[in-house]
């Protein structure tokens, strides 16, 4: 071992030199590192400038105001080839990424918890099936699963002329899922106001019920009242408004056109395939997170809850899950982040997410690779840093509660 000898002999001379001062050495190393990094960036930057000039590629972010000239299949905001700019295309892509992530997170949490709890079920069948699900989904690349879902979804769906009519304005064909599109009338504000009143009422009632329970121990039907206030009240208002002839919501039903259904709302098959892939894949990881979290709750807690006479359902709901959440939430958040980042695989199946629209089409049409890559990465980076910032705050709070 050369390094040993070198090092041993390095330490052997007793005479002190300033070279042995750890501070001096540390400063020296850091200066070297800084110089190296600056040199690397300098070399890269000068090369890039030279290359861009030679290739006559424009630079700067001015291109965001140029007319895009292409169309996008799914746009949450108004966007057209004629009027839309590259900046608008960026927003369209970003919104598409966010919406598939948000809906995906909602469903995958549900599925993940279900499977995670199923893995710990006393029912042998349920536990084994959940295990097989987790092992298979976890060990196959998401890209393969997405490609599979895409052709499976496309293959299973009929051509537009033979659209599957599912009733209530729902149609299914290889162009996606079509449904009635709600059209808001001008008096929709009433409905929103009622909904707000319901929400505030629920909040007040819940606080009151909680206080009452703490004082008297009597339990109030919180769930039912919440349902009545949040759902029942607006629906009642709607019915009343409809009866007096001032219906705030009307529906535009999809109709059959030459090629396809027109009107109504359309959910693209790419969106469905991406959502299916992301939800089923991430759920396998969340299931493992949930399982680990539940196992981290000591068995004594379950036994104590049992001895208090709580049913297994109550034990899970009131004792185990709240304690497990402390362990579950940090890795759960990182799974949410993974889902968001993985939604970039949309590029493989033609769903117009941020990467597909911006790093695909816009990058090609403008050739401004550096700006486009910087913006795209910046978006993902912001999302992750923001999430981990919030997570840190949460962790600190949980940690205080613990002590």
């Amino acid at each position: 071992m050369n390094s040993v000898q070198t090092a041993v002999s390095q330490t052997s001379p007793p005479k002190k030199s300033f070279l042995y001062d750890p501070k001096v050495r540390g400063a020296f190393y850091q200066v070297v590192l800084v110089v190296a990094i600056i040199a690397l960036f300098y070399v890269a930057a000068t090369n890039a400038i030279e290359n861009l000039q030679r290739a006559k590629i424009a630079s700067g972010f001015g291109f965001l105001n140029n007319t895009a000239g292409f169309d996008i299949s799914q746009t949450l905001i108004q966007f057209s080839a004629a009027g839309g700019t590259y900046g608008d295309a960026f927003i369209v892509g970003l919104l598409n990424t966010l919406i598939v992530s948000a809906i995906g997170i909602f469903f995958t949490t549900f599925l993940g918890f279900l499977i995670g709890i199923a893995r710990l079920s006393k029912n042998w069948m349920v536990a084994k099936v959940a295990m097989v699900y987790v092992e298979v989904l976890r060990n196959v690349p998401l890209l393969v699963q997405l490609l599979f879902w895409y052709i499976a979804v496309l293959g299973a769906l009929p051509q537009p002329r033979n659209s599957l009519e599912m009733g209530a304005g729902f149609y299914l064909n290889s162009r996606g899922l079509f449904m009635a599109k709600p059209i808001w009338a001008s008096n929709i504000g009433i409905l929103v106001a009622v909904l707000l009143i319901g929400l505030i009422g629920t909040f007040i009632y819940r606080r009151w019920a909680r206080k009452q329970q703490e004082q008297t121990g009597r339990q109030y039907p919180v769930g039912k009242v919440t349902l009545a206030l949040v759902l029942g009240l607006p629906i009642l208002t709607w019915i009343v408004l409809a009866l007096i002839g001032a219906n705030p919501i009307s529906f535009e039903l999809p109709r059959k056109g030459t090629f396809n259904l027109t009107g109504g709302m359309q959910i693209l098959p790419e969106f469905v395939a991406l959502l299916l892939g992301l939800v089923t894949y991430t759920a396998a990881f969340i299931a493992e997170v949930v399982r680990a979290g539940i196992l981290a709750v000591s068995k004594g807690q379950t036994e104590a809850a049992g001895s208090l006479g709580l049913t297994p359902g109550q034990t899970l709901r009131l004792v185990v899950i709240p304690q497990a959440m402390r362990v579950i939430i940090p890795p759960l958040t990182s799974q949410y982040l993974n889902l968001t980042k993985n939604s970039s695989l949309a590029v493989a199946i033609g769903y117009p997410d941020l990467v597909q629209v911006f790093m695909g089409t816009v990058l090609n049409q403008t050739g401004q690779a550096i700006e486009v890559v910087v913006i795209t990465m910046g978006v993902y980076l912001t999302i992750s840093l923001l999430t981990s910032f919030i997570m840190n705050i949460y962790n600190r709070r949980v940690a205080i509660v613990e002590r």
């Binding site: 390094s3 050495r25 540390g26 190393y29 850091q30 070297v32 590192l33 110089v35 190296a36 990094i37 040199a39 690397l40 070399v43 290359n51 030679r54 290739a55 006559k56 590629i57 424009a58 000239g69 292409f70 169309d71 996008i72 299949s73 080839a81 004629a82 052709i151 496309l154 293959g155 051509q159 537009p160 290889s174 162009r175 056109g257 030459t258 090629f259 396809n260 027109t262 098959p269 790419e270 590029v347 493989a348 033609g350 117009p352 597909q356 695909g360 089409t361 990058l363 090609n364 049409q365 050739g367 690779a369």
Partner: protein, 377 residues
């Protein structure tokens, strides 16, 4: 970890190595390695030198011909797989009209059409690859446009195929004109002029459509074939080529409308005029050969021809080849190894191929087409 492995790895992967040197913790067990960063210049030059020689196919912007001669082969950016234009078979043998042009250039330089390395490029990478010098010539059914010529730093010395964008639909839709496509969903490839033309055409005709864009032509066509879209759009030549790959080619028709001008041709870097000349004159030699009746089979007999045009073309009179840095018999080499333009066309995309595309606009000017060989004199 032993430090040797790190340093070896650093050297082997030049680039990664350079980054390793910069990002490492100088106080780690590989501390002595960290000292190298002192001699940043030496290390960088070595690392870059290594990368260059290990992985790069360096080509300077100034003299492409010299670097090609030095390397001993031509690097040619080609399609990832488009029947008739540029496609490798399972053994990696490339064929196609665009491929033949590269082989012709190699034949003109080396008298050997096999001295070409084909680099399959996606639409979105192709110009970067040319600009960065990764390929010497981009022969990949690319449309010549003003912005590409003036803003991307490219030159399109010749047009080797006049094309236009068209549509393909299923027969059973009963559509016979692109004007009937109002409300259709259309599969297209992103990052191409096709995508922009499509938007323009539907806007100009005040029609609605749903675009479904994919990153590669393969994905685009697969989605169309799977029934995702009513119509598939790309250059007309591409439509014929892709139709062959459909699970039932006879179920699809190409609509008569051509909605754009797509002059397809090889591209070279702007600024190297000699290299552009070589590409231009290779193609023109093939055109002139067809016009003068010089074929792969009769090129050797033709050397004795008394026709002054043939004599100049084949280098038995004058020193035209040397003036562009080639030999005077450059055209003989091209025709002997690759054939004239007509032969290449028939073999790859015409009647001799499965595509069966008519000459149409690509016939010689003498036959009513647009292919017009510039005279050698």
């Amino acid at each position: 970890m032993d430090p040797d492995a790190v340093s070896t790895e650093a050297a082997r992967n030049g680039l990664t190595g350079a980054r390793l040197g910069d990002n490492q913790d100088p106080s780690s067990h590989v501390e002595l390695l960290g000292e190298h960063t002192n001699m940043k210049k030496a290390l960088v030059s070595i690392a870059f030198g290594l990368t260059a020689s290990l992985f790069a196919t360096g080509a300077s912007a100034q003299a492409t011909l010299n670097s090609v001669k030095q390397k001993g082969f031509l690097t040619c950016g080609s399609n990832t797989g488009l029947a008739g234009f540029g496609q490798p078979d399972a053994q990696g043998n490339w064929t196609g009209l665009d491929v033949d042009l590269c082989r012709a250039i190699a034949a003109a330089i080396f008298d050997d059409p096999t001295k070409v390395r084909f680099i399959p490029l996606a639409a979105k990478d192709r110009f970067t690859a040319l600009q960065s010098g990764e390929v010497d010539v981009l022969s990949r059914n690319s449309t010549a446009t003003m912005s590409r010529d003036t803003q991307l730093g490219l030159d399109f010395p010749v047009i080797n195929y006049y094309d236009g964008q068209g549509f393909m639909v299923r027969k059973k839709l009963g559509v016979s004109s692109a004007k009937e496509l109002n409300g259709a969903s259309i599969c297209t490839q992103q990052g191409t002029t096709t995508e922009l033309n499509l938007a323009d055409y539907f806007r100009a005709n005040n029609m609605k459509y749903e675009v479904v864009a994919f990153a590669t032509s393969d994905e685009t066509f697969k989605a169309y074939d799977a029934g995702r879209c009513d119509a598939f759009t790309t250059d007309a030549s591409g439509l014929y080529a892709e139709r062959l790959r459909a699970s039932a080619p006879d179920d699809h028709i190409v609509l008569p409308e051509i909605i754009s001008k797509e002059p397809l041709g090889p591209a070279v870097r702007h600024g190297d005029n000699q290299w552009g000349d070589i590409v231009r004159w290779t193609h023109n030699a093939m055109l002139n050969a067809e016009e003068l009746g010089v074929t792969k089979a009769n090129v050797d007999q033709m050397k004795t021809s008394e026709n002054p045009e043939i004599k100049r073309l084949l280098g038995t009179e004058g020193k035209f080849g040397e003036a562009v840095g080639l030999t005077n018999d450059w055209a003989v080499r091209v025709i002997k190894h690759v054939g004239n333009y007509g032969e290449s066309f028939e073999k790859n995309v015409g009647e001799g191929s499965r595509l069966k595309i008519k000459r149409g606009q690509n016939a010689l000017w003498t036959k009513g087409g647009l292919q017009y060989g510039i005279p050698v004199r």
